[in-house]
């Protein structure tokens, strides 16, 4: 996939459209990572703005159905976190050395080769910059999942793809230039 094609399609990632080729490009392209960070923030601004402006639904029953669906989705998400090993989709939490929760992630089915990982970081310490690296490890080996950029509050939402043929058990976050300085881990 060319950079131009990936750039054009970056907004698709806001809609949870898994596209392995696009995600693979984003993983190695700093410009696309920054644009995706900005897109995430624009998406959040629009949603916040929408909450104050959204027109009433034509039919109250539809709002009711959506609310019920949202409650079911929230329950399903909670269940996925509670029973991480028993379902295909599971999650993990990232904490600092002091035990402060700074990130949560869910992993789900991507395609036959990859699993998707959606990370929500909150209040990561930005004393040494706003760029971070997420790592994944299994017995004796590790890979760099990807880089991500947080906003001024240390927060962001980002998506990655991981090889699906391995059993990732451990995740941690470091600064880009100091891979041994672990900021947070599972």
């Amino acid at each position: 996939m060319t950079h131009e094609a990936a750039w054009t399609r970056l907004p698709d990632l806001l809609d949870d459209r898994d596209d392995a080729a696009l995600l693979a490009h984003v993983q190695v392209c700093a410009d696309c990572q920054r644009q995706l960070f900005l897109l995430g923030r624009v998406d959040r601004l629009l949603r916040e703005s929408a909450s104050g402006r959204r027109l009433p639904r034509r039919r109250a029953t539809r709002a009711w159905i959506l609310a019920a669906a949202a409650a079911l989705a929230a329950a399903a998400a909670a269940l996925a976190l509670i029973l991480p090993q028993q379902t295909r989709s599971h999650g993990f939490a990232l904490r600092t050395g002091m035990g402060r929760l700074v990130g949560e992630a869910t992993m789900g089915g991507g395609d036959s080769h990859n699993v998707s990982l959606a990370l929500t970081a909150r209040h990561l310490p930005i004393d040494h910059g706003q760029m971070f690296v997420l790592w994944a490890g299994e017995s004796g080996s590790s890979i760099q999942v990807g880089r991500f950029m947080v906003d001024r509050t240390g927060s962001c939402r980002v998506r990655f793809n991981l090889p699906g043929n391995r059993s990732w058990r451990h995740f941690w976050v470091t600064e880009p230039e100091r891979p041994r300085a672990i900021v947070a881990s599972t």
């Binding site: 054009t8 907004p11 644009q35 900005l38 624009v42 601004l45 916040e48 402006r53 959204r54």
Partner: protein
Amino acid sequence: MKAQPQNTRAGRPSEVSAATADVELLQAIAAGSEPAFAELRGRYRAAVARVCATVGDAEREDCEQEVFARVWRKAALFDPTRGSAAAWLLTVARRTASNFHASRSRTPTPSSDEPAAGATDPADVDAFWLDAALVRLSEQERTVIELAYYRDLSEQAIASQLHVPLGSVKSWKRRGLNRLATLLGEELA
């Protein structure tokens, strides 16, 4: 009597377009550029109207005019190292609206010559900025994004409502969101 851009204050020739950053517009306005003033006013009209809506229908229009009159007079006081253009403009708008409220209650508040951008809530600045940024999109891009976010319509539903192919909706939405992200990047730079 409200200050308005005067021909006698015509500044150096400047090329102003939708791509010109807000900071550059304010700097051009400080130098007397009427095209820059018109562009900025077009971008922030809706955002300022939202702030002035708090003063009531009778004075709302006066409030909006007074905000832009102040922008014209005080643009030279804008310091980009102290905050973003959107934050400064929001402060001007709020202070103007506040003065309208105060004059109604006959307890005028002192008006500073230099609005400080740092005192505003970042979330409010973001919302103020978003109103202006949406104006900078093409009509198709803005319409699709507003229908998607403010009416919560799917792309297919938007295509049906606008009587256009689904591919056009996808394309306008992608372009619009990418454009907003790029503008936000300029704002944060």
